[in-house]
């Protein structure tokens, strides 16, 4: 039973997203137990994709927060205004110190030195702010400064996603698309690449091999050389999944992966989901219109309508929920 599922991999509480006047998502609480397949359904414009994008770090929520792997990752920024101060303050302090020393010792050298150091500090802080190494993040944390995670942060934390309207790198080959997916797992730096260090060459070779494996996994064996643009629609969907898997995520967000597929393709997709879960032990969050798919694969189903959660539970519970039926009325076909 999914109720007794292990620890939550992701839990969103009171997530709200406004665009100007429009409330796309309204105070949605949402939990994903580890290892489960959870589906998010709802009529068009119910705010599914918006919620999705909030979770993926693409939108900053207006209210509420999202915990991922036991860390608060996504929420409205706190004390964001204070961050620039951390860049400037050290500089100012050193400069003042310099003045002080000059007053005392009366030597201009001290001031000049201090000024140089100050400038150095400014630039270092600036660079730190850009690269955002752990030290910097920890410092911000200590100062109570919180910035909502960006999409790439979420990927690093272990979240992979696909898009409703396929967003592959069209002019790249399938293999390169997957290798971009590995980006956050590869370590080689500019220097490694420029100097062609052994470690860089090794990493590239491994990445190449791995990419082929991922392509094989989703059933694109031998197509690694194809330009993404030239792949068939179904293959593009598979490639997107392979690209997402390549980042070795814990949680996989799939946005209508079977949209526009014929029954047989859809069936293959569903088996793929099964394998992703069984062989890779991944948790999956699924947005889907095709009720067959939803009811077939998911442990839990959540229904959004007009940005609000109107129902949640096992597929059967949801199917019987009158509010869901009401929400879907008029689109009886899918109900």
């Amino acid at each position: 039973m999914s109720e007794s599922a292990p620890a939550l991999i992701l839990s969103a509480s009171g997530v709200t997203k406004r665009f100007g006047g429009l409330v796309a998502v309204n105070a949605v609480d949402f939990d994903i137990p580890e290892g489960s397949i959870v589906s998010l359904i709802g009529p068009n414009g119910a705010g599914k994709t918006t919620f999705f994008n909030v979770v993926a770090g693409l939108y900053e929520p207006t209210h509420g927060s999202v915990r991922f792997m036991d860390n608060e990752m996504i929420a409205r920024g706190r004390r964001a205004w204070a961050e620039p101060l951390t860049w400037v303050l050290p500089t100012v302090i050193v400069a003042l110190l310099g003045f002080f020393i000059m007053q005392v010792s009366g030597s201009g050298v001290a001031l000049a030195l201090a000024m140089l150091v100050a400038l150095g500090l400014l630039i270092t802080m600036f660079l730190l702010a850009i690269v955002r190494p752990p030290i910097y993040e920890r410092m911000l944390h200590r100062l109570g400064i919180f910035k909502s995670a960006r999409p790439n942060d979420m990927v690093v934390a272990g979240l992979g996603r696909t898009f409703q309207n396929i967003r592959l790198f069209k002019t790249m080959t399938a293999r390169e698309n997957v290798m971009v997916g590995m980006h956050s797992r590869l370590r080689s730096t500019v220097l490694d690449a420029a100097l062609r260090l052994a470690r860089h060459r090794r990493e590239e070779a491994e990445a190449d091999a791995q990419a082929r494996l991922w392509l094989a996994f989703v059933g694109l064996k031998g197509k690694q050389g194809e330009i993404a643009r030239n792949l068939s629609y179904g293959d593009q969907r598979r490639l997107e999944i392979a690209r997402a898997l390549a980042s070795q995520p814990k949680l996989l967000l799939l946005d209508e992966p079977t949209a526009g597929m014929n029954p047989s393709e859809t069936a293959q997709m569903m088996t793929l989901f099964g394998r992703i879960r069984s062989e890779l032990r991944l948790t999956i969050l699924l947005i889907e219109h095709d009720m067959q798919v939803v009811m077939g694969v998911s442990d839990r189903v959540t229904v959004l309508d007009h940005g609000e959660k109107i129902s949640e539970g096992t597929p059967d519970q949801v199917r019987r929920d009158p509010r869901v039926i009401e929400a879907y009325l008029g689109k009886g076909a899918s109900a």
Partner: protein
């Protein structure tokens, strides 16, 4: 994959017959960097020879040409750098000359009687590059969040501001007079050359060749790396790239920094060759010229861009002059439209090089956005085996 990438752009290779060409490509595949160096060396050796034979020999003597080639080398460097920003990462930088200026001033300030710092040339190559890179980051950091076209404008503004700053901060830049008598590189007596001097263009030519060769080699390596893929990914679809774990900010900044540092190199070399740096050398026309070179050569294609830059420079500095002389030689009748008088035989075509650039930019974008050189390869690659196609990620604008 390197082989095909090299072939993907390397126009000179087209001269070779099939078998030999394939051989070269196989070799290039295994030793790409070496191949680039050899390629540049061959071209470098070829140029001074070809200008010895008619019709070129009629346009001026060899030393003039070599001097011109050395100047062209500067633009090749600039184009290579801008190619990283525009061609690979897809960030339209319209203020690129600013980094050229920063590199030039960095050298002029630290190696001229103006400051009496007298730092030698060779270390300054690196320092200049680094200074330019730093400014690249400092400019990029706040602006890279912007969408493409906004970025273009910000960089354009930056490109306008920098010369004004150099113009008005007399204490450090000698203001409008510029810094003159900048020291020339010194080979410390090697090859019998102390200071490079003014009379003999060959040391400059060789130096710039070396710089270009190394730059191209490094750029190829980066293009083949994780970073190169990330650049193209951002160019293709920034949101998707970010959602695949690419840190768009740092990746773009690296593109900016690397592009800027190349411009810094070019600046240092140029300042040392011209021995003069003044604010009026770095107007927007320079930025746009370089952009035209990149677009013409084929955005994202290293060899193509290098050739595009060289061609365009020679066209404006040699061909247009000859054309002018030719047209002045034959006396065409003047077109007379009332008070509008268009006397073709009085036109100085050198004056209209920007018309040429304009036409080049427009027709390129409309007819073959992938640029002059890569296109043929790409078309073929698309029809060849999948593995062959593997490299056509070099062109920027399709989809």
């Amino acid at each position: 994959m390197s082989a095909r990438r090299l072939q993907g752009g390397s126009a000179p290779l087209r001269l070779l017959p099939g078998a030999l060409r394939r051989g070269v490509e196989r070799f290039a595949g295994r030793h790409q960097s070496l191949a680039v160096l050899v390629g540049v060396a061959l071209v470098g050796a070829f140029l001074p020879v070809i200008v010895g034979v008619p019709p070129f020999s009629g346009f001026g003597n060899r030393n003039d040409f070599v001097d011109g080639f050395a100047n062209a080398g500067v633009f090749v460097l600039l184009a290579l750098g801008l190619n990283v920003v525009v061609g690979l990462a897809g960030l339209l930088d319209l203020g690129y000359a600013a980094f050229f200026a920063i590199g030039s001033y960095a050298y002029a300030y630290s190696a001229s009687p103006f400051s009496h710092l007298d730092v030698p040339f060779w270390p300054m190559l690196l320092v200049g590059a680094m200074v330019a890179a730093t400014f690249g980051i400092l400019l990029g950091a706040p602006t890279l969040r912007l969408r493409g076209d906004y970025l273009a404008i910000v960089t354009l503004g930056f490109g306008e501001i920098v010369p004004v700053v150099f113009l008005n901060s007399d204490t450090y830049t000698n203001g409008t007079n510029g810094i003159s008598a900048v020291y020339q590189p010194s080979a410390y007596g090697l090859f019998g050359i102390g200071s490079f001097g003014f009379g003999n263009p060959w040391p400059y030519y060789v130096t710039v060749l070396a710089i270009v060769a190394v730059a191209m080699m490094l750029l190829y390596r980066l293009q083949d790396s994780r970073l190169g893929r990330a650049w193209v990914a951002i160019r293709e679809d920034e949101v998707a790239a970010a959602s695949m774990g690419v840190n768009t900010v740092t990746t773009k900044l690296l593109a900016f920094a690397i592009g800027a540092s190349t411009a810094g190199l070019a600046g240092v070399f140029n300042a040392s060759k011209l021995s003069l740096v003044s604010p009026d050398q770095f107007g927007f026309t320079v930025s746009f010229t370089i952009l035209a070179m990149v677009v013409l050569g084929g955005m994202g294609n290293i060899w193509g861009v290098a050739i595009g830059a060289f061609t365009l420079y020679e066209v404006q500095s040699v061909f247009l002059k000859q054309l002018t002389n030719f047209v002045h030689g034959i006396h065409l009748p003047a077109v007379d439209l009332g008070f509008l008088r268009l006397d073709i035989s009085a036109i100085d075509f050198v004056q209209y090089q920007f018309l040429l650039y304009g036409l080049a930019l427009v027709s390129m974008m409309l007819l073959r956005p992938e640029g002059l050189f890569p296109s043929r390869e790409r078309k073929r690659e698309l029809h060849e085996s999948a593995e062959e196609a593997a490299e056509s990620n070099e062109e920027v604008v399709q989809a």
